[in-house]
């Protein structure tokens, strides 16, 4: 893309303060940004790096509780910091548009898509209502939405999440802006949906020559979208380079470490002895069937990954195993012995031997209990230890998860995301289980922290011989740590086998689509994939 075109946006030495703990902190510590017309710039970094704050600042906007303290933000010759709020409002929605992470929350459920799509361009007087509606339909078609002539008459709840995200991009483009800011627009979508949305966005941006800032924490995604990538950390710029240079030769150690996460590798191994087996399990919530005829086997000391998009029945399978949802048919065998279907009929020993780790460590730990109580409780409850023996065991477990005794008296609110998840792991280990169900345990975490947690889980498996059921939608994680893979789609098992077998062709239709939809860390992947997927994606992903 052109980097020699004229400059659209410059931000120089921007400092933004945020208010927390009753004082002002710097969240952005003097960052420079230069964006040319028609160029796409990617912001990447962990949560808390200041990506979104910086993106909003490009519109001259600071969230409540934030303020732009110094620096210069010039958009097409207009100084946004010095301009009046009124002047800035004139630009927003007209020449600068914003696409938020959650389209479902950004649309007003009481109005149709079309009404909302044309609203800003009509209000800013750029187009008349009928012109805008005409243009919106054109954009719907450009965004690859089904039935572009009539889809605008639907309400937000009548279209899927992926379609809504595309409608939101159409909304942003409707006023023919010079700059669009995308803030994690595909993070909430399934991979198979994400690839379509990305393709539609990319195409629309290219066709209309719009400049964009693309904010994400997913490297592979930014590699598809951006011409240049800026890496941010702790509110400071780490480095900036054209995408292909950044991918092939990152300079800064921090950037290198971000790239390295995807390098965990481990060969898949099978095992003869089965710890747990689901046999032809059928389960339903009320009358809604969720699992149909599902059979899964977990070998001792190995990791079985359950993959599939949301709604495929992965988490329901976990609920059946733990006894929270007794199945309608079929049985769960633990060491070749049938487990009682309902939780209340299981013995304490049954409960001890199957433990669970949740996606969100925030809600999985009681915010009013200290680490000592959280980890100590299973030690008391299952193993009957008392007093000092409990403390000693807690200390041992803290050592196992690479933390130390100073964490004993902390509350969950005083820990970072990665530490919280480690405490949850320790709580599961405290019961000395045979099987741990990990439900999306890394998906709420940043790349580096993810890597740490995955390495820890692998180390613990080697040391303690515990088996994992790893529920995830992230194929990269599966490649890293799984032995066997179970692919699920709409409540059925599509395929099950050793990791290497599943990941090498030939694939059944759905597995093929799923694997092909995972963004790769190379430029031009998106274009290739879209061609390759061809007609198949229309049928499978929009279903």
């Amino acid at each position: 893309m052109s980097t020699d075109g004229d400059v659209l946006l410059t931000m120089r030495d921007v400092v933004i303060d945020g208010f927390s703990d009753e004082r002002w902190h710097e969240i952005i510590k003097g960052v420079d940004v230069t964006l040319h017309r028609g160029e796409v710039l990617g912001f990447i970094g962990e949560s808390g790096a200041g990506k979104s704050t910086l993106g909003l600042a490009a519109m001259g906007f600071a969230r409540p509780g934030c303020r732009i303290t110094s620096g210069e933000i010039v958009f097409d010759g207009i100084d946004l910091v010095a301009a009046s709020e009124r002047a800035r409002q004139k630009l927003r929605g007209a020449r600068i548009a914003y696409v938020a992470q959650s389209a479902a929350a950004a649309f007003n459920p009481a109005h149709t898509l079309l009404e909302q799509t044309v609203e800003s361009s009509v209000r800013h007087g750029i187009l008349s209502t009928s012109e805008a509606a005409e243009y919106a339909r054109e954009l719907y078609a450009a965004m690859d939405l089904p039935d572009p002539q009539n889809i605008g008459d639907r309400y937000p709840h009548q279209v899927s999440g992926g379609q809504l995200q595309r409608a939101m991009t159409a909304m942003a483009m409707c006023s023919k802006p010079d700059l669009i800011i995308f803030d994690e627009p595909t993070t909430a979508l399934d991979v198979t949906t994400q690839v379509n949305v990305l393709a539609a966005m990319r195409k629309a941006i290219l066709d209309y020559g719009t400049a964009a800032i693309y904010i994400t924490h997913d490297l592979a995604v930014v590699a598809q979208m951006a011409d240049r990538i800026k890496v941010l950390r702790y509110g400071e710029e780490v480095e900036e380079a054209p995408t292909d240079v950044m991918l092939s030769a990152p300079k800064h150690p921090y950037t290198k470490s971000l790239w390295a996460v995807r390098s965990i590798e481990k060969p898949g191994e099978g095992g003869a002895e089965k710890v747990l087996e689901l046999k032809t399990v059928t389960a339903a919530y009320g009358t809604v069937p969720v699992l149909e005829d599902v059979s899964i086997a977990v070998p001792r000391g190995k990791t079985v990954a359950l993959v599939g998009e949301s709604g495929s029945g992965k988490s329901t399978a976990a609920r059946v195993i733990t006894g929270l949802l007794p199945p309608q048919a079929g049985e769960v065998l633990f060491e070749d012995e049938a487990l009682p279907p309902a939780l209340k009929n299981r013995t304490r020993d049954h409960l001890r031997r199957i433990q669970m780790i949740y996606q969100s460590a925030d809600t999985a730990m009681n915010p009013r209990h200290t680490v000592r109580e959280i980890i100590g409780r299973p030690v008391q409850f299952y193993l009957g230890k008392r007093g000092r023996a409990v403390d000693e065991r807690v200390s041992e477990l803290l050592g196992l998860i690479e933390l130390d005794d100073s964490f004993m008296d902390r509350l969950p609110g005083e820990l970072s995301g990665g530490q919280k998840q480690r405490i949850c792991i320790a709580r599961a280990l405290a019961a000395e289980p045979d099987l741990i169900i990990c439900d999306e345990v890394t998906s709420a975490l940043d790349q580096i922290v993810q890597e740490g947690i995955l390495k820890l889980l692998m180390k613990l498996q080697r040391q303690l011989g515990v088996s994992y059921i790893f529920i995830t939608h992230d194929i990269a994680t599966v490649r890293a740590i799984a032995d066997e893979v179970v692919v699920m789609y709409q409540g059925r098992v599509v395929e099950q086998g050793l990791k290497e077998d599943i990941f090498s062709p030939p694939h059944p239709d759905y597995t093929g689509l799923l694997l092909a939809s995972v963004p790769k860390m190379e430029t031009g992947w998106l274009e290739k994939t879209i061609e390759a997927l061809g007609e198949r994606r229309h049928e499978a992903a929009e279903a």
Binding site: H252, R346, R348, L351, Y358, T363, F381, S416, G418, G452
Partner: protein
Amino acid sequence: MTDIPETYSATAEVAEVRTRRTWRARAWIELRKAPVSAWFGLTVIVAYIFVAVFAPLLAPHGEAQVFPQPYAPWSPMHPLGTDQIGRDVLSRLIYGARNTIGIALATTFLAFIIGGGLALVAAIARGWTDQILSRLIDVLMAIPSLIFALMLLSIFGSTVTSLIIIIAVLDSTRVFRLTRAVAMNVVVMEFVEAARLRGEGTWWIMRREILPNIMPPLVAEFGLRFCFVFLTIAALSFLGLGIQPPTADWGSMVRENASLIQFAQYDLKAGITPLLPAAAIALLTIGVNFVVDWFLMKTSGLRDEH
């Protein structure tokens, strides 16, 4: 650019290692930041408790000691005069603090044990248990509580015990509603599911998992409920069905001395006398509300925009 360590260590992620302050130290820090209204409320409450506890030492005369002259004017012997049968008003005010506050506290505690306990059971069990308990409470709430209380008191008689139990049961309906609502939000959290998966019993889940997380609204409600119970008792006493003579309490003191008000045109102080117990009730109610307001502001995170 800053130097960034190349190795990742989970321990180093949050650098500040903090030791937990004792609750006393934390309470003191909070108190020092408290607004004037909260300090005022706390002072009032502490003063009332002091008076209630040390009533026999503070009162110049006995609670039911009768002097020859009824409706005596204020004098050094009887600083606030005497009532319609010649009992010292100041002494009865002081003893009244003990009786009225004591009974109101006991009633509020009982209401919370009944209402809160049932609400937690309903929230945890859900399904039929929840339905039956909730509808039962709805039926109780549908009947105007003061009239219902009057009816029950005339059936069971106005003893202190029946007074406490009846008001507690009637007030527990509101406690139930609130506790169930806030507990429902906590019950769906994953840590409660985790406790269930661990095999914990209902009692543990109630006490250890849910209760600590719903304490702030409950404490605030306790303060408000206390005021309402207090007013209900005073109202019932004023109607003659509350605390029975010769036990001193503020509600009946207002009623017994109400006729003194017509002497205000001759002696202003005589006119003030029946208003004093009413003022005592009002002051305590205001004090408690100030403290509750402050507490709610501290715990709910509702603050003025900066």
